[in-house]
Amino acid sequence: MKYQMIVLAKQVPDTRNVGKDAMNEDGTVNRKVLPAIFNPEDLNALEQALLIKDRFPESTITILTMGPPRAADLLREGLYRGADRAVLLTDRAFAGADTLATSYALSQAIKHIGDFDLIIGGRQAIDGDTAQVGPQVAEKLHIPQVTYTEEILDITQKDVTIRRHIDGGVETVKAPLPLMITVTGSATPCRPRHAKLVMQYKRAMTPTEWETTYPDRALLPVESPLHIAQWSTQDVNADIAQCGLSGSPTKVKKVENINFVAKENRRLTGSDEEIESLILELLENHTIG
């Protein structure tokens, strides 16, 4: 038995480690100082695909991302950890996409990939926290979805049994293939890079990277294991009007860096006397006790 899987992944700025210089004076984000990382829950998603491939070694994993040319780094990371094939969806026309325009572009790329049994993605990306792209892609492909997946319990050629998080508990569901699954951060963490795969794929490149690195050599053939596919709107037959900014129903009216108006506050050093007088004050005005 074998399964064809597509893992959706996103390269994101590491918003968890934002320093004081992360914001420009005008309130916009200084992306240059933020390291670009593999979105954490997308790594959990990749691991779910790898676990299925462990059980059914003839299965294939295609890792798909939409982003600027540098997102090829994320795809190599996926290959180092066990993905078989990588696709970069990149085009200026995709810029400024909200979740709906993103899901349109991804669904077109998935149609271009062709047959699949499972699409697996992280529940949400840490730069937006919306959790919208997975379900929106599933709707565009007219397939069912299971979000908030914690563990794939079983898979057969017909269906998948999944334990998922729900508010205040857990639920076990059985859903037919083909299926979209989104995975939470509480699922099994992703295995590390495999040394052999790092050796094998460290020179894997997109055509753009190849041209920059070897301007005088012929392009890698598409069949080469070192070829990272790079698709534009045209390649995936995408309607430009539904991509990027023009395909996004939501518009950003304004963005602001909040500066809190400082309250008048009392400063304490943490000495015994000061802590005791604070506690007495709180007891007296019935805040505590």
Partner: protein
């Protein structure tokens, strides 16, 4: 036409708090826009829903009552909303930013090609000018949310596409009955089969287990909350000690939860729980906007931090500059020695 719709989340036969909060907000927005408030209940045995929600000012209640519709599954619920919205053309649709709302909302927005904004912390009606297209829009829904890991606050609008969809976390909006005697214009029992197809029922819920929350963070009058600065899971025990002695609850910032210091269900902030306690003690919390969004309405805030310039200090009533390992045991000690 052009009314404001709220999707009601129902567990057992009880409407979720978040839905009642959205009805409260929805009622005031609908009144401001001069439209009606409509609510949608999808589930099984919905006899008591009307009495639960109409006092919040619901004008029209849509009931979809069918054994197959409980517990919630994605596809039939999506079909019902999509087909209902195609007919009713709402201008706004609000849902809870719960697991269900975040499963359902994007699916519906994708089918209807409408804009959806997740985890809004504020909803306001206002105008919008598209300078490039030289078009003016009146009375749009401003969907305001922290973004980018909580480092900025963005105001999002959906100028062209309808409905304008937004999800909001539980506890963010206040919940208030409009009038216990409020009279709805109509309660409509729909024929479910006109909205769903048999293929919508391909996902089967095998079992479902819901536990009562292990703590009452949302309703606790005293919250002791720890951030990344607490340093370790062991140090969090100090927070539990203080909370226990003050009869409060322990919360955590997202950074502390991500670092594994505290459980996910204790997270306070935009993507966690919103709290409004009498006393909020912030321990080793720097104060990202996304955290502030979940606690800024606390009546009194004490910040304990060894960084005297931590942003959270700006909204604190008391700032204690020091290490939590020293300050918390002192607080416990002086509380015990001074309280009866």
């Amino acid at each position: 036409m052009k009314n404001l719709f709220v999707y009601l989340e129902i567990e057992g036969d009880v409407v979720a708090d978040v839905s009642l909060e959205l009805l409260t907000k929805g009622r005031s927005l609908a009144t401001e826009l001069g439209v009606e408030l409509e609510a949608i209940a999808i589930g099984y045995e919905l006899e008591t829903i009307a009495e639960q929600v109409i006092p919040y000012g619901v004008d029209i209640l849509h009931l979809f009552d069918d054994k197959r519709l409980a517990p919630y599954t994605t596809l039939p619920t999506t079909s019902i909303l999509v087909n209902l919205f195609k007919k009713e053309q709402p201008q706004i649709c609000l849902m809870g930013a719960t697991v269900i709302g975040r499963d359902l909302g994007p699916r519906v927005s994708s089918a209807l090609i409408s804009g959806l904004t997740a985890d809004c912390t504020s909803l306001v009606i206002g105008d919008y000018e598209d300078k490039k297209m030289q078009k003016q829009y009146d009375n749009l829904l401003y969907q305001i949310r922290p973004a980018f890991g909580g480092n900025i606050v963005a105001t999002i609008v959906n100028p062209e596409n309808r409905p304008q969809m937004a999800t909001v976390r539980e506890g963010v909006m206040k919940r208030q009955i409009l009038d216990p005697e409020y009279k709805a214009k109509s309660v409509i029992r729909h024929d479910v089969n006109e909205f769903v197809s048999t293929e919508d029922f391909v996902v089967e819920v095998i079992n479902r287990h819901i536990e009562k929350a292990a703590h009452n963070l949302k309703g606790s009058p005293i919250v002791v909350c720890g951030g990344y600065g607490v340093g370790s899971k062991e140090n969090f025990n100090l927070l539990f000690d203080l909370a226990k002695c003050l009869s409060g609850e322990v919360g955590a910032s997202r950074a502390a939860v991500d670092a594994g210091f505290a459980d996910h269900d204790r997270q306070i902030g935009q993507t966690g729980v919103t709290v409004r306690p009498k006393l909020y003690i912030a321990c080793g919390i720097s104060g990202q906007i996304q955290h502030i969004a979940g606690m800024q309405e606390s009546a009194m805030i004490i910040s304990i931090n060894n960084d005297p310039d931590a942003p959270i200090n700006n909204i604190a009533d008391y700032v204690i500059t020091g290490d939590i390992e020293e300050v918390l045991p002192k607080m416990i000690h002086f509380y015990k020695s001074n309280s009866k």
